[in-house]
Structure formats: structure tokens, C-alpha cells
């Protein structure tokens, strides 16, 4: 199952867990399942039905460009970090 690294400032929602295994074959499924297990997490990561524009999703160390649609392998490692744009950063 994919491993989701929980951002430090979200760990209050995950009983202090810094990393949890969550089922899902796409980012969307993983985030929905995360929300079921830890309510409130989706609102932090998403703006409506897409990844919040200030957040970058890393799958196995590589930033995905397709947000919620990105496919994740069974043993994928996911990170949610501030997005880095063309030298433009927002957080």
C-alpha cells in the first residue's frame, strides 16, 4: 500500500503519525481514503476537487504534474510539500 508522509503541521489530525499506509491507486483515491481515516486532512491538501495550487505532490521523489489523476504504485511513497514554480514559490 502507498505510504503517505504526513506534513508536520498536519500531524495533529493523524494522532501524531508522521507516516501512514493508505490504500489507493491514484492520488485522488489515496486522499479520499486518508480523509476517511483522518477527517480534515483533505481540506488541507485540496482546494475543492484539486490539489491546492500551493502544494506539490511528490511520488517517489518526483513531483507529479497531473495532481489528483496521478497513478500511484502499491509501494509508492508520497509527500506533500510547498510547490516550487519557475523560480516562483508560494506557501
Amino acid at each position: 500500500m502507498p505510504v503517505v508522509a504526513i506534513p508536520a503541521l498536519m500531524r495533529n489530525l493523524t494522532d501524531g503519525e508522521d507516516s501512514v499506509t493508505i490504500p489507493g491507486a491514484t492520488i485522488r483515491e489515496v486522499i479520499d481514503n486518508l480523509e476517511t481515516r483522518y477527517p480534515g486532512t483533505k481540506a488541507k491538501l485540496c482546494d475543492g476537487d484539486r490539489i491546492h495550487p500551493s502544494i506539490g505532490v511528490y511520488i517517489n521523489g518526483v513531483v507529479t504534474r497531473v495532481g489528483m489523476h496521478a497513478r500511484v504504485d502499491a509501494d509508492a511513497e508520497l509527500h506533500f510539500l510547498p510547490a516550487i514554480g519557475g523560480g516562483v514559490v508560494s506557501d
Binding site: 518526483v62 510539500l81 510547498p82 514554480g85 523560480g87 514559490v89 508560494s90
Partner: protein, 751 residues
């Protein structure tokens, strides 16, 4: 991809395609643009760092002979309480608009208040002085620590500190707080035999591009808006104009002219929307130019910062814990690169226990903008100085301690993600084996220092089309503005695929109506991502040319192969035709061939650098002289080595300026007192030795030729490397940037 691949074009040093235009003065930069009926615009700027705008009366200016129009924030569409998604992260539209023309408050000296269009630039300037603005002056907040005090004057009543969606309950100048946590920081410090904790302060610095901002705008009667300008990204200008002017993207064409440097500072728009407003008001084309003081005071510099770094290591040099708190000045509106700084600060080291806090803080200074590896230089000044001190205390060679702790493929970055193949260790080894590192350097007050740096690099969108000409050359159309030779580095990648010389590819940078979306020239992405698109577009050409050859020979496409610029048939018929000869026969085989590709590649691969510097410190004057400089950097694969070296040398020298001289000097009223090139002292060639750029090539698996972006990381190590060299020379740890003569004399107890 093998590490020792033979290339014909890649790795060579052809003359750049735009070279002749640029050495003969013929290249047209933004300010050079001319059009019939042109009016000239100038901007009136706030003399106060923090003031409420009580009233603006433009009547005297409007009555001035030669004046054709005056605009203020009133002429901007109402900015709803909306987040503008510029494809570069989220930005508040209200802030975006207010930074173009202040509506209710002036938030920094130099903040644009109004603008005039007139028949002549001098008249426009005179008319600016005839605009009567009544201000209620407010106390300015000028420094990040002061801004964080609980009783600091509040700059924006509506800002509450946000921490990943949580918002504070009272107004604050701290716009956001971020945190990265890995392992157990307390345990890490417990395991350490030695712990060092230091505070660092860095000043506000400017990108210092030589060409001031410029824009010429024209509205046609059908509502079509055209903007000619120099910019790092025509498409981001189009997006920003569409948001700020609330105008359809389909009615905006942005024409990027040649650009005289950007370094991150020419992504955000300033006077482009102003030119558009003036053009709309006057019905004429309007050119707005900044002067140098406008550039310093009215565009985004990179933040001043206050950083604490605490690191622990065992006796044998293993770093067990790394902690930092970084507060960055965002300027007048939220959005400093503290996030990037926080993600870079400990990235070169594989450390088990890490705690990073970052704060984005508003102050009464210009809204900051990206500058070459934004945030990473401030960060590395802290971390790389502390590591030097650890090495010294533990009696370990400073490059050795980096080798012992250096991050490798498969290690986790401090902020989480796993590293793909990276070349950090290789850069340290290259520095260690360089003759510079072992050369004698024992003179009194001479010192040697080293430091390393990391920058992410990015991918993002790029589009390329390639049209095949009948003489076997191709025209390559791209949307990446060329700031440092990227026409060449992109064209070379297409040439390599097509088996033709670099000179046979004619690259052209076009406007937003003429190519698919292409993100900014920034983030060290252009040779990587647009180069990747050129590679794919060239592959598309090859596929189509194979079809043509198959048609010509009446064979199956599967039986045509393409190697070294030659198409040949396999299995049966002995046929062969060169790319050039086949190009002449496109007419008879089905017409023109156009290859195209759009990319948004994910595997930019990180960039690392390790620098070695020798300095001499003059004890009498406090002046630091750079005696020798060697910069090693992993370029993945250098497409055009001369321009890779150039990026490294240019970045190093900007870093030297940041380290030794450059800063915005403010008085208590928040006025910058050195807003000229004379007083904001950037390095000249007399201040410098040759810069030895050593290219290390650890191919990036995320690019067909192994390219990594090279533009940004070279600015990251210099301030720390120089601070470490100064320590080696005179035994004093400098923790404040710039390390100018007065600071050095003070630190040495001379004044």
C-alpha cells in the same frame, strides 16, 4: 542511456544563433522597440514606506501640455477577493493588483501610485510631479524580527498567520508558518558529541539585471491588446495581464523581445499592466520604461532573512541532528521563498533528525521576487557555515565531513522525498581533487573556504515545433525567451537527433499566439524542459521522414532506419538518403514536414555544487579580496559547455556580490539610500579573478541526454564559502551579510 555516450553536437561549442545580432547592436530588446504614434509613460511612486493614501488629484497633470492620459488604481478593475492561479502557485489577486498601482495604502517607498502618458518621456516625468497625492504617513516596519514582535505595527489588517490551512485569530505580519520534521530532533542532539548553534542575518539584495523593466502596449479598436516587452516568460505575462486587467486571454498577445537579464526578477509584472491601462486610456501605443532607481525601489528584490541553525555531530563526524528556524522578509505582500529555502537548507546531507521552521513575514519593503535559487543562498549561508565550524571543532577536513554525510541516490531529503540519481558526492570529490584545494595558501590574512549548495530545478511546460526546409535545415519555433544562450542549447538537442549540425537549426522565440504554452525561463528549466521538447519534436520529424523515405523506396516503414543523419532501408533493398537530400523531396512525398512536441517533464533532477575560494583580508580597511575561485557543479550533461561555464561563473559572481557588498541600505523612514549602481555596489571585473568552472557530469535519468538545469545552484555556496575563508584568514566567524568592510572591521574589533 549510458554514461559514456558519443555525441556529434552535444558537448561541442558552436557560435550561438543570436550571436551576430547581439554583438552588432542589432538585436531588439524591450526598450528598443519602436512603433508609429508612440507615447511615453512614466510612473509616480510613493515617497513613503508606509502611508495611507488620502486622495490623489491628477487634474494639474492632465492639463499639462503634451499629456495624453493619467491612470491610478481607480482604472484597474475591482479585484475581487479572489485567488489568481498563475500556474506558478496561488496568489491573491488583490495583492497582485495593489502592487501594480496602490489603492488604499502605499506599502513601500517606490510603490507605484499613478502613471502618465505623454508625447515625450520628459513631459511624462514633469507631469508625474504635478500629481497631488495626500498621504497619511504611518510608522514603517522595516526588519523581519521587528515585524514579528507582538506589538509591531500591522501592515495588513486581514493577514492572520496560516499554518497549512490553520489560521491564527489575530492580525499578524507573519503571513505563514511552515514546518518540516524528520526523526526525533531531541534524540539527535542527545547522540551528538558536539552541538553548534548560530544566528545569521542576511540583507535585501537585488537581481541587478542591467536592463530595466520595459513595456509597450497597444489596444486595437477591436479590443485586441498587444504587449511588447522583455520578460522571462511571455505566457506568464499573458496570464498576469488577464488576471489583473480581468481581460480574456484570447484577446492578449504578448511579444517577447530580447531580454537583458532576469535571474527571477522578470517573471512578475510591474509596468506591463500600467502600459496597457495607459494604452487603453489614450488609444495610442504607450511605452513605459523604468529608470534604475525605479528598478531598485519598485521591483522585487530577494528577501533579507534571519536564520538560526543548530547542528550536532558525533566525534567521528556524523551529523546527527539539524535544526533551523528561518524568517524571511516577504516585502509588502506575502510570498517569500522561505518554503524553498527550508526545503534546501539541509538537502545536501543525509541527516536522520531534522526540524525546520519557516516564517513568511511582511515588511514595508518592495514585494520580494525570485532570485536565482530563491531562498537557498540565505539558507546555505547558515547551514554551510555551521558545518564548517563542526568540521573545525572535530578536526575533520571540511570536504571530508561533506563526503561522510553527503546525500546519495535513495537517501531522503530533509523535507521528505527520496533523491533520484544525484551528483553531490561527485562535486565534493571534484573539489577535493582539484589542484586549487591542495595549493599552498599560508600567507598571513589569506584564507581558504569551501561550501556546497543544492537547488531543486524544475520541469514545467514547454512547446516546440520544427519545420523542415528543403535544403536540409530546420526552423525551430519555441516559447522560451533566451537569456543566456538557450536558443543554442535547445537547437543543439534537436540537431543531435536529426544528425545535422547545430548551425542547420534556426531557432526562433515567438509570441504567445504562435506556439503552445511555455512556462518561464527560470527554475533552471529551459535547456532541460524546452530542450526535452526539442528532442521530442525532432523525434517526431524523424518518424515522419521515415514515412517519406518508405514512400520513396516503396518499402515498409518498419524497414527504414535512421542513424547519423542518414535514412537507409534494411531487409532487402539497398537504399540510402541523407536527411538533407530527403528534405528536398518532401514535396513529392506528401508535402511539408512539421514536428511538434509539448512536454511537462517530471524528472528535473537536483543540482549540486561545491565551491572552493581563497581570500585575502585587508586588516586595515576590512576589504576582502577574492584571490582564487573554483566551482564544481553537476550539470548532468553539458549541452554547450561554454554556456554552462558561463552560468556557473555568473552565478558565482552574483554570490560574491551578495557575500561582500550588496544590500539595500535603509534609513529609519524606510527609504533605500543606495538606489543606484554606484552605491549598490555590484562586482566589476576589477574585483575578480578568473572563475574556474568545473563541470561534473552525472547524467540525469529524467532527460534523454542526461541534462540537469545549471543556472541557479552556482549562487548558493559563495557567501558561506567566503565566510569560511574569512574565518580561515583572520579567525572570525562572520554571520551577517554582506561581509562589507565596515562589518569586518567591527568584527575584528578595529572600529
Amino acid at each position: 542511456m549510458s554514461e559514456k555516450k558519443e555525441y556529434k553536437v552535444i558537448g561541442t561549442r558552436p557560435i550561438r544563433h543570436d550571436g551576430v545580432d547581439k554583438v552588432t547592436g542589432r538585436a531588439i530588446y524591450g526598450a528598443d522597440f519602436q512603433i508609429t504614434g508612440l507615447l511615453h509613460g512614466r510612473v509616480l511612486r510613493s515617497p513613503h514606506a508606509h502611508a495611507r493614501i488620502v486622495s490623489i488629484d491628477t487634474s494639474r497633470a492632465e492639463a499639462h501640455p503634451g499629456v495624453k492620459g493619467v491612470v491610478t488604481a481607480q482604472d484597474l478593475p475591482e479585484a475581487e477577493d479572489k485567488i489568481a492561479d498563475l500556474g506558478e502557485g496561488a496568489v491573491s489577486l488583490k495583492y497582485l493588483c495593489d502592487n501594480i498601482l496602490a489603492s488604499d495604502k502605499a506599502l513601500y517607498k517606490g510603490h507605484a501610485i499613478a502613471a502618465v502618458a505623454a508625447t515625450d518621456p520628459h513631459i511624462a516625468e514633469e507631469a508625474c510631479e504635478l500629481i497631488d497625492v495626500e498621504y497619511e504617513v504611518l510608522p514603517p516596519v522595516l526588519e523581519v524580527r521587528a515585524a514579528m514582535e507582538p506589538d509591531a505595527p500591522i501592515i495588513h489588517e486581514n493577514i492572520r498567520t496560516s499554518s497549512l490551512g490553520e489560521t491564527g485569530d489575530k492580525p499578524s505580519n507573519v503571513a505563514s508558518h511552515i514546518q518540516f520534521k524528520k526523526g526525533d530532533i531531541e534524540k539527535g542532539f542527545d547522540e551528538a558529541d558536539i552541538v553548534i548553534e548560530r544566528e545569521f542575518v542576511t540583507g535585501t539584495v537585488h537581481q541587478g539585471y542591467i536592463e530595466p523593466h520595459n513595456a509597450t502596449a497597444l489596444y486595437n479598436p477591436d479590443g485586441q491588446l498587444t504587449v511588447w516587452c522583455s520578460t522571462q516568460g511571455a505566457f506568464t505575462v499573458r496570464e498576469q495581464l488577464a488576471e489583473i486587467l480581468q481581460y480574456p486571454i484570447s484577446k492578449i498577445k504578448v511579444v517577447p523581445l530580447e531580454i537583458g537579464g532576469g535571474f527571477g526578477g522578470k517573471i512578475n509584472v510591474y509596468i506591463k499592466p500600467v502600459a496597457a491601462l495607459l494604452a487603453k486610456k489614450t488609444g495610442k501605443p504607450v511605452k513605459v520604461l523604468m529608470n534604475r532607481a525605479d528598478v531598485f525601489e519598485g521591483t522585487g528584490p530577494t528577501p533579507a532573512s534571519y536564520i538560526t541553525v543548530k547542528m550536532g555531530a558525533t566525534k567521528d563526524g556524523k551529523i546527527t541532528a539539524a535544526q533551523t528556524s528561518m524568517a524571511f522578509e516577504a516585502g509588502a505582500y506575502p510570498g517569500s521563498p522561505v518554503g524553498a529555502g527550508a526545503m534546501c537548507i539541509f538537502a545536501p546531507y543525509n541527516t536522520e533528525n531534522v526540524l525546520i521552521d519557516g516564517y513568511d513575514v511582511v515588511v514595508n519593503k518592495p514585494k520580494t521576487a525570485p532570485y536565482r535559487a530563491p531562498g537557498a543562498t540565505n539558507a546555505a549561508f547558515g547551514s554551510e557555515t555551521v558545518i564548517d565550524e563542526l568540521a573545525e571543532e572535530l578536526n575533520i577536513d571540511p570536504l571530508e565531513i561533506r563526503l561522510m554525510n553527503g546525500a546519495k541516490e535513495g537517501d531522503h531529503r530533509a523535507d521528505g522525498p527520496v533523491f533520484p540519481r544525484i551528483g553531490f558526492i561527485e562535486t565534493v570529490e571534484a573539489a577535493k581533487s582539484h589542484p586549487h584545494y591542495t595549493a599552498p595558501n599560508g600567507k598571513k590574512h589569506h584564507g581558504r573556504g569551501v561550501a556546497s549548495g543544492f537547488w531543486f530545478n524544475i520541469g514545467l511546460e514547454s512547446s516546440v515545433t520544427i519545420n523542415v526546409n528543403p535544403d536540409g535545415t530546420v526552423n525551430l519555433v519555441e516559447g522560451s525567451t533566451d537569456i543566456g544562450g538557450t536558443r543554442a542549447s535547445i537547437a543543439m538537442q534537436a540537431a543531435e537527433v536529426l544528425g545535422i549540425p547545430a548551425e542547420s537549426v534556426n531557432p526562433t522565440v515567438v509570441d504567445t499566439n504562435s506556439i503552445g504554452y511555455t512556462a518561464v525561463t527560470g527554475g533552471s528549466r529551459t535547456t532541460y524542459a524546452t530542450g526535452y521538447a526539442a528532442y521530442e519534436a525532432a523525434q517526431d520529424v524523424v518518424r515522419q521522414m521515415i514515412e517519406r523515405a518508405a514512400k520513396l523506396w516503396d518499402v515498409d516503414e518498419a524497414n527504414v532506419q535512421f542513424t547519423d543523419g542518414e535514412f537507409s532501408s534494411i531487409n532487402g533493398k539497398e537504399e540510402q538518403i541523407s536527411f538533407r537530400d530527403l528534405s528536398a523531396r518532401l514535396g513529392e512525398t506528401g508535402g511539408p514536414v512539421v514536428g511538434r512536441a509539448t512536454m511537462n517533464p517530471a524528472g528535473a533532477g537536483g543540482a549540486f555544487a561545491t565551491h572552493v575560494v581563497d581570500v585575502a583580508v585587508d586588516e586595515e580597511t576590512g576589504k576582502v579580496e577574492i584571490l582564487r575561485y573554483t566551482a564544481t557543479q553537476d550539470a548532468g550533461k553539458a549541452i554547450h559547455p561554454s554556456y554552462v561555464e558561463g552560468q556557473i561563473q555568473g552565478g558565482v559572481v552574483q554570490g560574491i556580490g551578495w557575500a561582500l557588498n550588496e544590500e539595500y541600505i535603509y534609513n529609519d523612514e524606510g527609504e533605500m539610500t543606495n538606489a543606484s549602481f554606484l552605491d549598490y555596489r555590484m562586482p566589476t571585473c576589477l574585483d575578480l579573478p578568473m572563475i574556474d568552472a568545473v563541470i561534473v557530469e552525472v547524467p540525469n535519468p529524467g532527460h534523454p541526454y542526461g541534462v540537469r538545469g545549471v543556472g541557479e545552484v552556482p549562487i548558493v555556496p559563495p557567501p558561506a564559502a567566503i565566510a569560511n575563508a574569512i574565518y580561515d584568514a583572520v579567525g572570525i566567524r562572520m554571520t551577517e551579510l554582506p561581509m562589507s568592510p565596515d562589518r569586518l572591521l567591527k568584527a575584528m574589533g578595529k572600529i
